[in-house]
Amino acid sequence: MLEVIGTDSVDDLFAHLPAEVRLDRPLNLPDGLTEEEVRRYFLSVARKNHGQDELISFLGGGVYDAIVPAAIDPLVSRSEFLTAYTPYQPEVSQGTLQAIYEWQSYICRLTGLEVSNASMYDGATALSEAISVALASRRKKAVVLPETLNPRYRRVVCTSMKGEGITIIDAPVGADGTIDPQGLAAVITDEVGCVVIQNPNYLGLVEQVDAVGQVVKDSGAVLVAAVNPVSLSVLKTPAEYGAELAVGEAQPFGIKPSWGGPLLGFLACTDAHKRRIPGRVVGRTLDNRGQNGYVLTLQTREQHIRREKATSNICSNQGVNALRATVYLAMLGTEGLVELGESNLTRITALKETVRGIQGAALPFDGPVFNETVVRLDKSAQGFCTYARRHGMLAGIPLEGFAGCGGGDLLVAVTEKRTGAEIARFGELLKNYLESPTEEVTS
């Protein structure tokens, strides 16, 4: 090959790099390993961890210990899907393109909205992008966030709003843990172009969506809904309560948590916003033989065409995970989705029942929940987590400092995977913890 190139050595090909910036030593990295040694390294690393396969998990807060059907891996690991690039040449990418189109269609049917993009990095980035779209559409510079918004989403939104010079206003939350519609109306000033609702909110509570929707509608701002897509099995769709954009984290649709990534943000909107949303969008069209086919479309929104005028900078997205979620939803169908929702509802109800019977534990909010609830302990919630963990359980997320929560507040989530025995065990551990003198349980 060197002969064809007309050079003597591979080194010559780098000879034009300025000598001063050349690295004059080998990289200080260990020698390469064989495949078997790499496997051994990762096995040893994995064995030092303790994940949800090993522990009984009641962790949630946006990412859940959900069932991953066996059909997903063999499909997604097909090299045709896994090793294809972004479908820039549609004629040899119809598989990826039709799959994305079907993903978009699923998201539309779940949210009731008319347009979906191909995916976002995660729920948090999806939310900040949606707010930007909303504000741009109203040419406004302030957004209202509920106090009960997922704090991890709030942080990412803050970063982004700061960059864009946007003011953030807090929507007040009532004693029942949900947005107070009157209070909300009061904070929607003229500057406000967008109001965010999270449903269920970070405390697990289902919001009074109609009332909130009405207030926002009356104000002329855009309502952006951040939703747990699993809850859309039973809960009102964002479209039904007037949201113009809906976002969320679709990890529970067949994606392993992997310590939080890769996840799967989604973003849907009404038709009116379609030329402003970020990310790739697939459309159906015809080919020159008169057949149906799919293409990346509305690309004039995107950075590779519009550069600094683009609505977003997102390029690579979460393609594989969108495919996983599409296969997941295909496995469920209408009835499966309802069954999934009811499974969650049943289990969180059972968990609440269990907690209700335990001295020293309470349910501070009594509104409806979907798969997650706050449990208030007479003792430290963090202490309970430590105690439960020693007994092979991940008990939940301590809420101290969040939206007025105290040191005894714990966010506990279930999924369709939790069994009766596991929930009973939760109650048992909680009882033991609350009954024991503090020294005993934390030592």
Binding site: G51, G261, N313, G333, R347
Partner: protein, 505 residues
């Protein structure tokens, strides 16, 4: 005798022929199910939500059995080109083969099943691995600190810009908001600058495709927050004056950001830190191997100079004296939070597997082979398709189809489409914008010589076709599952979700 073979070589090309399946929304029948959920086996409970909180109608999803689902997506998959089918010479995309062991290790129980709210006590192994990756990326790039959080290259650019902005703000330099960007830059660069609240300012390239120092000197001011450079740049050329650029920017009070999407050219040869950069992002899904999955997920870690570490988002992984690892919150406001958790951890682990597998020497050899392969192709294609900036090809080159357009009336687009008929994928076309009829070829190091020869032979035969029968190109592709698609129509009347079989035709 031989079966259908690659023109002029004995490597055999695969023919296309597959059919689009019906929409999944037209499949299945009520009552069918692919997945059922475990019955509740605890005490019976009454679980009901108030009606006004519930959706009026169930989501209308098709009901398929597991075999129907498998067939639908299996059939879809056969419509794709992919790296395990053949060469994917997309310039700027580094479509290398991704070792299968990567996929195997990230799926391990103890990695894939970790919940992001689990703390250091449960994830010591993971933290050890991520720490090793951070340190490895620092060595690879010549920097002091690394954040693995960005979920893609563009996300890394965004974080890099936030870091540079935070740096200037920390010094009270609120007015330094201008980021200089060469006109050959990838579209994400200016877009990232804008969403980070900074202002991009374009710098024209020199005639040899590199940064124009005079233009640069003229552009810097006390508004200069920094510069964003891809090196090697999107023409596949090394910015030879990089040290001078560094001097100019630093003297003006700015910081240098490198888009590291093209690191595959220079691993072990030169490092951004040594060139004078202050921040770099790596497209680990390109350089350090993650299958692209039809669009993602990727990973865009950034490495930064020591004085910028303080602006990286938390939590930061820290190794204790006893060998254990902790997660440390960062002090100050979270002005650089960009992800719910810790980014695309699974992609980071693949990058680590790749680094461990190759080692330092192996990574250097990767770059050498990538550059060798690109030069080998260039040497053989130059005659039929000249390269306007033919001044030192590294891992890719940008040829121009302008002569084909003038002489035969075929566009670069047509050449690309004709390649599809031959079972190959097209290179990147019409990028970078500064080359007319750009045709940007990046073979990567994992293509064997036979593939390269097949590509050359195919290009030569297409060159003949362009002269004798240009319609073969302008009407290509002919044997793909679908023909050229009406993209203008798609954008004019967007059909973005399934409402029924299209009656547009």
């Amino acid at each position: 005798m031989s079966n259908e073979s690659c023109p002029a070589t004995e490597v055999q090309a695969q023919r296309w022929n597959a059919t689009l399946p019906a929409s999944i929304f037209d499949k299945g029948a009520p009552g069918r199910r692919g997945l059922t959920f475990p019955r509740w086996d605890g005490q019976p409970v009454e679980a009901q939500l108030p009606k006004e909180l519930c959706r009026a109608e169930g989501a209308d999803l098709p009901s398929l059995s597991e075999p129907e689902v498998m067939r639908h997506f299996t059939q879809l998959s056969t419509l794709n080109h992919h790296i395990e089918r053949g060469m994917y010479p997309l310039g700027s995309c580094t479509m290398k083969y991704n070792p299968r062991v990567n996929e195997q290790v990230v799926a391990l129980s103890g990695l894939a099943d970790l919940h992001p709210e689990q703390g250091p006590e449960d994830i010591q192994g993971l933290l050890e691995a991520l720490d090793l990756l951070e340190r490895s990326l620092c060595e690879l790039t010549g920097f002091a600190a690394c954040s693995l959080i960005p979920a893609a290259g563009a996300h890394g650019e965004y974080l890099g810009m936030l870091v540079i902005r935070a740096y200037h703000q920390s010094r009270g330099d609120e007015d330094r908001t201008e980021i200089l960007i060469p006109d050959s830059a990838h579209g994400t660069n200016p877009a990232s600058v804008v969403i980070a609240g900074l202002k991009p300012r374009t710098i024209k390239s020199r005639k040899d495709g590199r940064i124009d120092l005079d233009a640069l000197r003229a552009a810097v001011s006390d508004k200069t927050a920094g510069i964003m450079i891809t090196n090697p740049n999107t023409l596949g050329l090394f910015e030879n004056d990089i040290q001078e650029v560094s001097r100019i920017i630093h003297e003006a009070g700015g910081r240098l950001y490198m888009d590291g999407a093209n690191m595959n050219a220079i691993m072990g040869k030169t490092r951004p830190g040594d060139m004078g950069f202050d921040v770099v992002h790596l497209n680990i899904h390109k350089t350090l191997s993650t299958p692209h999955g039809g669009g993602g997920p990727g990973g865009g870690p950034i490495c930064v100079a020591e004085d910028l570490e303080q602006f990286l988002p938390g939590p930061r992984i820290a190794r204790q004296d006893d060998g254990t690892y902790t997660l440390e919150k960062v002090p100050g406001p979270d002005s650089t939070s960009i992800h719910s958790y810790f980014g695309n951890v699974g992609i980071c682990l693949r990058a680590l597997a790749y680094i461990l597998r190759n080692g330092g020497n192996g990574l250097t050899r990767v770059s050498e082979c990538a550059v060798l392969n690109a030069n080998y192709l260039l040497a053989q294609l130059r005659d039929i398709m000249p390269v306007p900036f033919d001044t030192g090809c590294l891992h890719e080159f940008v040829a121009s189809g302008s002569r084909w357009k003038e002489e035969f009336g075929v566009r670069t687009l047509d050449i690309g489409k004709r390649l599809l008929d031959h079972g190959l994928h097209a290179p990147t076309i019409y990028f970078p914008l500064i080359v007319d009829e750009a045709f940007m070829v990046e073979p990567t190091e994992t293509e064997p010589k036979e593939s390269l020869d097949c590509f050359v032979a195919t290009m030569k035969s297409i060159y003949q076709e362009a002269q004798t029968n240009p319609e073969l190109l302008t009407e290509a592709p002919h044997v793909t599952p679908v023909g050229r698609l009406d993209e203008a129509g798609a954008a004019r009347n967007p059909d973005l979700r399934y409402l029924g079989p299209c009656n547009c035709g």
